[in-house]
Symmetry: C2
Subunit: 341 residues, 2 copies
DNA sequence: CCATTTAACTAAACCGGTTTAGTTATTGTA
DNA sequence: TACAATAACTAAACCGGTTTAGTTAAATGG
C-alpha cells in the first residue's frame, strides 16, 4: 500500500496539482474550479483516503499547525492535568501539541524554546522557570505568539493565564485565623517565582489584617532539592514547646504531602495540635489522614484559556496585534478535616 | 532579527548551499570539503546561531525526528509518569515527542494514529485501547516502527513493553492468603484489556493454588464510566454478613482510591475487617488512611525501554528487520498497613 | 463583429533544506 | 607528455505541498 500524493491524484484525474490542492483546501469556489471537477477530486481523495504530508504543507505555508508546550514537569499532577486540557483543546482547534519538561532549569527552558522554534511550532504555551527573561523578550520582539501559564513575568507585558495566588492563600490564612489559630506557620520552597512570592505576601497580609504580631508567624523556606528530607526536621523545630505553631500552611501540594507525612511520623495530631492547609492539591488529598483542606486551582480553565488566547494570537494579523491578554483566575477553597473546621 | 537560512550562509561565504549543508551535517570530510572551508562555515554558523528549519529538513530527508505518543489519558498519574520518562529519553536521543490522549476510544485512537502519520512522525509509542487491531496490523504491514506499551495485542507479533500483570496480582493475592485471609474479593473494571484479564487470572490462579473454594471468591466488575458512584453500593453488597469478604484486591489504582473512600464512608475497618491491596499505585498511597499495599509498576523502565526499542527500530534497516522485541517487566510489591501485615 | 470579460484551468516558482551527478583544476603515473 | 585519478567544489533535481501569474476558450457587450 503505497502512499498517495497530490500529483498522483492530479495525474489520475487529468487535472493539475494546483486544481487538486485548491479544491482540497476549500478554495475551489473562489478560484472558479467547476462544481463537477471539484466533486471528482473530492470523491477521489476520499475514496483513496488521501492525506497531505504535513511537513510539506507546513514548509510551504510557513506554519505547522503545531503548538509547543513547555512545563516544569509533566509527571507533576498539576502540569499533567493542564497538559491534558491543553492537548484536548488544541486538538479541537486542529493543532497538535509537542511538549517538553524544563525541570525548572532556565538553560533547559531556553534550549527547549529554541528547539521548538526550529520545529516551526506556530505558538508556545510556557510555564516558565521565570529566569529566562531574555528568551521571552526575544519572542515578544519577534511577535511570536505565546502565552505564559501558571507563572508570568510581572514586569513584562505578555499574555498570561495565572491564578490569584495572593487571594487564594489570603483566603486560606483567614480561614485558619477565623477558626482561632493564632500561630500559623508558612512552609514554602526557596524560590523566586512570583507565584510563590504572592503566596507568601497573601499569608502576611492576612496576618496583618488580623493583627497577628511577629511572634505569631513562622516562615520556613525549604530547598527544592532536599525538601523531602528537610521537612521532618523543620517541623520538629517549629513544634517545640517554645515556639509551637498551631497551624501550618503549605505553599504547594507536594510540600503538604511531605508535611503531612512528617507530622504523622512525629505523631502530631492534625488538626488538634496543628491544623494544616495547602495551596494546590493532589488527587488523594481527600483520602489522606486527615483529608487536607486546600486552595484549588482551576486547571481546566488554565488549559482551555491558554489555547484559546494562543489560537487567537496565531490567527491574528501580527501587525494589528490586539492588546495582550492577561488573565488572573480565581481559586476555589475546599474545606476538609485537616484545618479543624 | 531576521532568520538566517542556508543560502544566506552560502552567499555570504561565497560557497554553495551544498557545501554548507554537507559541512553542517558532518559530511564535510567524506565529501572532501577542505578543512579550511569547513572551519569557515562552522564558525559562521555558530557566530550567527544558524539553526535549520526542521520542516524543510524533515521533508527532504523523509523523516521528522519526532515520535508520537498515544496514551489513554495524560492526566492519569501512571501515564503522566510514563510520558515524562518517554519525553526525557527521547530528548536524549534527539527526538521530539508529540502526544495525544485516546480516552479509551478506539475510533479516537485510530484517528490519532492517522494524524500522527500525516505529521510524519518517525515512530509511534502506543498504549492502545486494544480494540484497534486493524490499525496496528496496518502499521506492521507497512513496516512502520512502533512499540506498544502497557497494553499489547496477545495474538499479534509486535514489539511491546508490558508488565507481568499475572505475576504481580498473584503475588498480592498470595500475600493476603498467607496473612490468613480466606474470602478475598477482586474488584476490577469491565474491560477486554488483556492486562485486566491477566490480573483476574492471576488472582484466580493464586486462589486455586491455595485451595480456596468457589465461595471464597467474589469478582466485581464495575463500569468504567460509573465506577465512582457504583463502588459504594458494590462494597456494601459484598460486606453483608452472609458473604462477607475479609480482603479486597483492586485491579488498578483509581479503583483502590474509590474503594478506600467507600470503605471509609461505610466505616469498615481496614485492615481489621477487610484488608485491601491494589495493583498499581498513586503518589499518595503511602499517606492515605490506611496506607495502601500495592503492586508497583516500573514506570521509568517502561518509558525508557519503549524509546530505546523504538529508536533501534527507526534506525534499523527496515528490510533487515531484527526480530520483535517483547518485554515483560517484573512488578514490585510494596507492603503497607492496608493489608494487615 | 471585434474587444473585453469571465470561467476554468495550469505551468512554474517557491518553501528551505538534502542529495545526486557533475565540473574544474591539480596531482600522479606510464 | 598525455591520461587517469583525485581534491574541492557546485548546479540542479528533489521532497510534497501552496501560490502566483498566466493561458485558453467561451460568453458578454457596445
Amino acid at each position: 500500500m503505497k502512499k498517495l500524493y497530490l500529483k498522483d491524484i492530479a495525474k489520475n484525474l487529468n487535472v493539475s496539482k494546483t486544481a487538486v490542492s485548491l479544491v482540497l483546501n476549500n478554495k475551489g469556489d473562489e478560484n472558479k474550479i467547476s462544481k463537477e471537477t471539484q466533486e471528482r477530486i473530492i470523491a477521489y481523495a476520499k475514496k483513496y483516503n488521501y492525506v497531505p504530508n504535513q511537513l510539506a504543507r507546513g514548509l510551504s505555508r510557513g506554519k505547522s499547525e503545531t503548538i509547543g508546550l513547555i512545563i516544569p514537569n509533566i509527571s507533576d499532577t498539576f502540569y499533567a492535568q493542564i497538559a491534558g486540557f491543553v492537548e484536548a483543546r488544541a486538538m479541537e482547534m486542529g493543532y497538535t501539541v509537542v511538549f517538553s519538561s524544563s525541570y525548572e532549569k532556565p538553560e533547559k527552558e531556553s534550549k527547549l524554546i529554541q528547539s521548538m522554534l526550529n520545529r516551526q511550532v506556530d505558538g508556545l504555551i510556557i510555564s516558565s522557570t521565570q529566569k529566562n527573561e531574555k528568551d521571552i523578550l526575544r519572542l515578544q520582539e519577534n511577535d511570536f505568539p505565546f502565552v505564559l501559564i501558571d507563572r508570568h513575568y510581572p514586569n513584562l507585558d505578555t499574555n498570561y493565564v495565572i491564578v490569584d495566588n495572593f487571594g487564594g492563600i489570603y483566603h486560606a490564612t483567614k480561614h485558619l485565623l477565623d477558626l482561632g489559630r493564632k500561630k500559623i506557620g508558612f512552609v514554602t520552597i526557596k524560590s523566586d517565582l512570583d507565584a510563590m512570592q504572592q503566596r507568601l505576601l497573601g499569608y502576611i497580609k492576612a496576618l496583618d489584617d488580623h493583627g497577628v504580631e511577629q511572634d505569631g508567624r513562622f516562615v520556613s523556606e525549604l530547598d527544592q532539592k532536599t525538601y523531602v528530607t528537610d521537612m521532618a526536621e523543620m517541623i520538629r523545630a517549629i513544634t517545640t514547646p517554645e515556639k509551637r505553631v498551631d497551624a501550618l500552611l503549605f505553599s504547594t501540594h507536594y510540600l503538604a504531602r511531605e508535611g503531612l507525612r512528617a507530622l504523622n511520623e512525629l505523631n502530631i495530631q492534625i488538626p488538634d495540635e496543628v491544623a494544616i492547609a495547602s495551596f494546590s492539591e493532589m488527587s488523594a488529598f481527600d483520602l489522606v489522614n486527615p483529608p487536607i483542606t486546600a486552595v484549588i486551582q482551576p486547571v481546566q480553565k488554565i488549559g482551555d484559556l491558554a489555547v484559546d488566547i494562543l489560537v487567537d494570537e496565531m490567527k491574528g494579523d501580527h501587525m494589528i496585534k490586539t492588546k495582550d491578554k492577561r488573565i488572573v483566575l480565581d481559586t476555589n477553597f475546599k474545606i476538609r478535616k485537616s484545618c479543624g473546621a
